[in-house]
Symmetry: C3
């Protein structure tokens, strides 16, 4: 049950190492605190592997990829895998530049990620080795819809099998799948795309959920996706006259902070296949 | 009309590449989303020109200038100009250090900016090649007032002519001018100076307005300045007991998010000379 | 009196140079503006010493330490000391990696800090040359309690004497001490630890208070600690149904923005030894 996943995070308070972008890093730190995990950011090669060693999980996010932190990503990733920590990869903008696509593919070759979370364009860029990601947003041609759902699941499940990892594809419909099972999740609000960083936040929350629930990884990822989606719904219900995307951003993190296992269980809207 | 400029941004949803500082980058991303544009941040030489190629406009902001991103600024700027994209330059802190002043002047020599937006001290540092900028704020001696308005317009208009670009000088009175025409804009609130990054936000919004309105560039810049100023006014009207600059910051972005073409047209307070 | 310290900041509006981490930098800038100081961020060796020269105080924070900015920390720190500016050091995560601990110790050898502010684990790592800091949070074994208060004061006072500086140790109980006197401060809320960066914010505010009150440094540090603690209390009283840590973050900066000398004096909860 999703409830147990949330409560394990609250109980274990995992420390999550994030090598992430400087655009959304503050929100990532606050959302980890909101779900009762702890954040630490460290992206210099000099300390990346050592910091990861004292943590319970790692998120690697290439949102503002630069050459100086790439070696730190490899070092931390390898160390985390060696220690049996959960590692989540967020290939922000894969498909939008060669540098991002190639770095993402290299990281995937050398680090065995537990979970890769991205939008449909980013994940398709990883599957096919190139893409047409619209900046950091999914290209409209790539989006998961009720019509292409079966096909998308097949594509991603083949990739999950090949890579031995969980894939989380977020959009209007969210998919959480490994080679055998898939969660199809319909929580969230379209307005979440008008805030920078809800995807980055989800990747970090996913790392916290995996770190606290290593014995039920697929369910942990599904729980994290439901938490963010429900937080988006709760926050929207709390919007007041005159509020816009900045207030919505705060209200979403607030909703994660206040979410109980019961609320998660009651509002989670998913089917399994 | 300003209304058309806003509606063009909503319709075209331009993708704006930002090489910017890490202090205000999250607000810059959210304000671009608020005005219905899309942000992407990428500052590594390895991908800067390629990322700019898939975008509609570029903002270069030197707020936390460092040697590693300067080459990316040149590469992206030159590529954007080559592709006919609009490029906005925000010379944050020009006049406060040789590094900033000289980098700003070099960028201006090699990249033909469509618009340069700064406070009066920053712009005077560019005009005269040195300055006495008070950190990242205008020196009180440089401020545009009703008394020195004519003189300041003459100085900046000569510079706009020499550089073939639009200058946007923001402060209590905002100036938007090219070599022939000037908008004198009196929107905004003095409390906006108690928030970090309203200037950075305006530069990015200006890039979005230019990208969506290439056939009326001066008007597009004026519209962007009015949008931010009016958002500052609307946000101030929504302030509640106990609110301070952090809430004001959120409310300004919220006001940009909710602003309609009608509201912009109705509240814009400007004269043309 | 604490009131005079706050009013000196409002009157002198010190310009504070911050070489800080990219996680909390936006909040640091906004909280400096909230207390009527001005922020500038500059971390490149090319300009660090020059920027510090035009400022009134300097904060060095190693929250996302990287090799490229370490030389800028040394250059700015030495220049600030040479010019008689107040310099505050925030050894974020000292004790969590060799890189952080060793850089912190090197900085302390070469720069005579006016004040070092950290949590108990970070400060103990500096005292003993190594530590077991829990990421960026204090290890529960290191925390200052009513029981170990005397002992902790002795340890820190010996260190303050050796280093000729003020130590600020924050947690449930805050200590502000030099070799002779100590303030024991009991303002604040436990929920402040669920926001990233209240410590970073305090370090910057402390630099502003020191810069504006060079003739009463210990009292200035105590005033800064009380301001942040009281802001945490005021903000908590303003929390509404559904609010969480993101709203709390904004409300704390808002409370700093609105704090008067009278409120500070009235609500400050401290004893001196």
């Amino acid at each position: 049950m999703l409830k147990e996943c949330l409560e394990a995070v609250e109980r274990k308070m995992p420390l999550i190492h994030n090598i992430t972008n400087y655009v959304t890093v503050n929100d990532v730190a606050n959302v980890l605190l909101a779900c009762k995990a702890s954040p630490i950011m460290a992206d210099d090669l000099e300390e990346a592997a050592e910091i990861t060693s004292i943590c319970d999980g790692l998120t690697i996010n290439i949102g503002t990829l630069n050459q100086h932190t790439v070696p730190a990503m490899f070092a931390a990733g390898k160390q985390a895998v060696k220690l049996g920590h959960c590692v989540v990869f967020d290939p922000v903008g894969a498909g939008a530049s060669m540098f991002r696509t190639n770095t993402a593919l290299s990281l995937m070759r050398e680090i065995s990620f537990d979970c890769i979370r991205g939008n449909s364009s980013e994940l398709k860029a990883l599957v096919f080795g190139s893409g047409n990601t619209q900046g950091v947003d999914a290209n409209v041609m790539d989006v998961v819809t009720e019509e292409n759902l079966e096909e998308m699941i097949l594509i991603f499940q083949a990739f999950a099998k090949e890579r031995h990892c969980i894939l989380v594809c977020t959009g209007a419909i969210d998919l959480v799948l490994d080679e055998r099972h898939s969660y199809i999740i319909r929580n969230g609000r379209p307005e979440m795309s008008k805030i920078t960083g809800t995807g980055c936040q989800l990747s970090a929350v996913t790392a916290a959920y995996l770190a606290a629930n290593p014995e039920r990884k697929l369910e942990a990822c599904a729980a994290a996706v439901c938490v963010m989606g429900i937080a988006g719904e709760v926050a929207w219900e709390r919007m007041e006259k005159g509020d816009g995307n900045a207030s919505y951003r705060n209200r979403i993190i607030d909703a994660v902070y206040r979410m109980s296992g019961e609320e998660l269980e009651r509002r989670a809207n998913y089917e399994m296949r």
